[in-house]
Symmetry: C2
């Protein structure tokens, strides 16, 4: 089977909730699925154009006061079908490439200090993420969410993120301790 453009489904999924411009889509992605899925303008605009050509979304030119005009994209009935078909199917096997693990695997070829440094950077990164998760969580509770079902799914992914970052931090810390203990011996 040929590879599918996954960007389209991320965009369509967000548009299932609300119509957005390309610029707004980027922000919406950052604030919702951003910690496990990211998109750049370099993908968003071309993919929106191709989705429109296929009739999966439609655009509307909107004049704004106090801001530049924009194109608002809405999902069409065909788009909803296309998206639903994808979301029901099993996820593809995820091909991962974890550069930190690759460097740690080859850690024998650099100093213990360099290894510890890498692990510390990873810890900071995930501590930062954990703070972001709290922001998203409060964002979720303060906003008006008429649909409790949607919220349930959002909290599930948030829960995953928290577990993932916590696990990573714990692993990094234990590895650093391993290094420090073996240095004492």
């Amino acid at each position: 089977m040929s590879r599918e453009n996954k960007t389209q489904f991320a965009l369509l999924g967000i548009l299932m909730y609300q119509s957005f411009s390309g610029y707004e889509l980027k922000k919406a992605i950052n604030y919702s699925i951003g910690f496990f899925w990211s998109e750049d303008y370099g993908s968003i605009y071309p993919v929106l154009a191709s989705l429109e050509k296929k009739g999966l979304v439609k655009k509307e030119y909107v004049h704004q006061e106090k801001k530049p005009s924009k194109y608002i994209y809405s999902i069409t009935d065909t788009g909803i079908k296309h998206f639903s078909e994808w979301v029901s199917r099993d996820a593809d096997y995820e091909k991962i490439r974890h550069e930190l693990l690759l460097k740690i695997f080859f850690g024998h070829y650099c100093s213990v200090e360099d290894n510890i440094e890498k692990l510390k950077t990873e810890i900071s990164f995930h501590e930062n993420l954990l703070e972001k998760y709290q922001e998203i969580r409060s964002h979720l509770s303060e906003d008006s969410h008429p649909n409790e079902s949607e919220k349930k799914y959002w909290l599930m992914t948030l829960d995953y993120g928290i577990r993932y970052s916590s696990m990573t931090i714990k692993w990094c810390e234990e590895m650093i301790n391993n290094f420090k203990e073996s240095r004492k011996e």
Copy 2:
């Protein structure tokens, strides 16, 4: 900064331990870093050619008995320098794209059964991985490993893999239970 080809470092790293042909490299990668880093022939052969052109590896034609001839690649002094420079540096920020999480986030748009199905598939995948980790672990202990330092790093990444898969399985199971409980209400 421009993007770096990471495949080259995976190959150079393996060649730090031992000289291999392209075909053997693929196998060595699968059996060592395979669960967090994969490469296909479509990348391996072209990258080996470009590494040779840059003088980072050298190849030798080897005739074999009972098997077709092959090219054995060895890392050069320049290659060792190039690799060491990379391995000492911090890992780049990892851009993740987790399709299962994306589908779960949009889980409101398909049936609970479809969601449970996806989580079950993920569980099988990681249970399979956990078995593989045991294989790698026994592979590591039965083989003659003169260098205990190398082994330490391999076990670190293995430990990460085990934690990651265990965490994922636990999360999936709890999410399935959530679904089943809310169905009872």
